[in-house]
């Protein structure tokens, strides 16, 4: 047996299909945009985190070291404070890696490994992966390898992280604006429904209905419409993710770092659904206050 408020809410929606579609559509559009922002953001943050793990200092040498000097230098570098591990990359190893990374490996035909420099890859401890720590370490490495060309991607990474932070802030501002705008639209759409039913609401009060009894179907109606809008938006984002993002964006990210993009995790999907429900609910509530009065 369906409880009265739910039955009434479903009937109200059936009686005003256009307004119902308007509300559901507005919520769906807003949450789709928000979900897309969140999807991009969580993948950017995951990528940043991953890259951050890979941050290393590389010391390139045009001429390989003699004999046991390679091992001596590697051991000396390992003893520096903040260094977790040191790997020596020979010319042959560098050449082999390049062949693996390039899609068109035949580009390297005719080139010999001797054109590539040797290098020491210096992996840092987690807490030393900041720009400041690296810049303090670089002179020490330079003193051990005076002829080395020392490179590290930290500057670029920090700029990227800064971009992600700005993107997050922008998403927050836009998201807040969109949510308020949607709340306003939902509230006014439901207000139109209530205007059309004002006489009915007055009659309900006259025959002894409590404010809750009168409001409950409308609140549920708002919540249902919000939930439907959220489900539509999740379906839309899912379709976009599999149809467009995975191929396009995924290839781009893969080419710069072997990273696969992921869809919204379950808790984010629940949050989107919850947001839809709350949007509909508060949209209704803000309108109902004006229309439901019992006494003088």
């Amino acid at each position: 047996m369906i409880p009265y408020p739910i039955l009434r809410a479903l009937r109200n929606m059936k009686q005003s299909p256009f307004l119902c579609v308007a509300t559901v559509g507005t919520v769906a559009a807003t949450l789709t945009i928000l979900a897309l922002f969140v999807l991009i953001l969580i993948n950017l943050q995951a990528l940043t985190g991953r890259w951050s793990q890979d941050v290393q200092v590389r010391a390139y040498l045009d001429n390989p070291l003699k004999g046991s000097e390679t091992k001596e230098k590697a051991d000396a570098l390992k003893k520096l404070e903040g260094v977790e591990d040191v790997v020596f990359v020979s010319r042959e190893k560098a050449y082999s890696r390049m062949r693996q990374r390039l899609e068109s490996a035949d580009l390297l035909d005719g080139l010999s490994p001797e054109v590539l420099p040797v290098s020491f890859e210096i992996a840092l401890e987690d807490e030393r992966r900041s720009r400041r720590s690296i810049e303090a370490l670089v002179p020490q490495i330079q003193s051990l390898l005076p002829e080395a060309d020392i490179r590290y991607g930290q500057q670029w990474l920090e700029r990227f992280e800064s971009f992600v932070r700005m993107f997050s802030a922008g998403a927050l501002v836009l998201g807040s604006f969109l949510l308020f705008a949607t709340l306003f639209i939902v509230s006014n759409t439901i207000r139109l429904t209530l205007y059309a039913r004002k006489d009915e609401l007055d009659i309900m009060a006259l025959v002894g209905a409590t404010p809750f009894f009168i409001k409950a179907p409308f609140l549920l109606e708002g919540a249902l419409q919000g939930a439907l809008g959220a489900i539509l938006s999740l379906a839309g984002v899912f379709a976009l993710f599999h149809g467009v993002f995975r191929e396009g964006l995924g290839s781009l990210l893969f080419s710069v770092g072997s990273y696969e993009i992921h869809y919204l995790p379950g808790n984010y999907q629940l949050a989107i659904l919850g947001s839809g429900v709350l949007l509909g609910l508060f949209g209704s509530l803000s309108s109902l206050r004006k229309f439901v009065r019992i006494g003088p």
Binding site: I203, M204, L206, V207, G208, A209, G295, P296
Partner: protein, 221 residues
């Protein structure tokens, strides 16, 4: 059943809708409230079902002072009353059955009981074949009968009617009055506002006369 003690109501500072009204109505009485337009009949009825509050005085309904009721208590008072209006006040988006059933749904009655009582109430007003229709598909007289069925379905102690036959022709008016008479015969206290002297003459009962917001006559008690 109903007692008013020196009740006054003003809508504007210089115009009194009601002034110094004191009266009592016993259980089971049938009372007309009459007077010219603007005499205060509708205002008096609104005070009884708490759509308005008096500016002065006390009103007791079944021994309870309704001038002190909190807003959340008003619905419970209204559930013991049946109210009939000149413009019927039916919910046009609901069927006849749903309109009459609504007061019982509000009280949380079970579906089976609602079905039984609604059918009985609609049959009593002679419209059982119209149950699945919508109000706007009915004539004025039929709509008013449905409104009365809705008012009576809860078995009210008090039935208030504000010009219930104001929009109806004489033939239909008689039918409507018959319904009020039957309700009163079952023990319901009826208070009916009207300016129709013809109706009062056809079915004589106690008459309270209002003029300019004051009680100027109380006859037939």
């Amino acid at each position: 059943m109903i007692r008013l003690y020196d009740v006054s109501k003003h809508y504007r500072s210089d115009a009194a809708a009601l002034e110094g009204i004191s009266l009592h109505i016993d259980k089971g009485e049938f009372v007309y409230l009459t007077g010219p337009s603007g005499a205060g009949k509708s205002t008096l009825l609104k005070l009884l079902f708490c759509a308005e509050r008096p500016d002065r005085g006390q009103i007791l309904v079944k021994g309870r002072n309704i001038t002190r009721l909190k807003p959340r208590e008003i619905p419970h008072l209204r559930r013991t009353m049946g109210i009939v209006f000149q413009d019927y006040k039916l919910m046009t988006s609901r069927t006849v059955f749903e309109n009459v059933a609504f007061p019982l749904e509000v009280q949380g009655k079970k579906r089976i009981e609602i079905g039984k009582r609604v059918y009985q109430a609609i049959r009593e007003v002679g419209l059982e074949e119209r149950m699945s229709r919508f109000p706007l598909e009915l004539s004025g007289g039929e709509q008013q009968r449905i409104a009365i069925a809705r008012a009576l379905v809860v078995g009210p102690d008090i039935l208030l009617a504000d010009e219930p036959t104001g929009n109806l022709d004489p033939g239909v008016t008689l039918e409507i009055m018959e319904l009020f008479k039957r309700a009163n015969a079952r023990g319901t206290t009826v208070m009916l506002a009207t300016h129709s002297q013809e109706m009062i003459q056809r079915m004589p009962r106690r008459v309270l006369t209002l003029k300019g917001g004051r009680l100027t006559g109380d006859e037939g008690s």
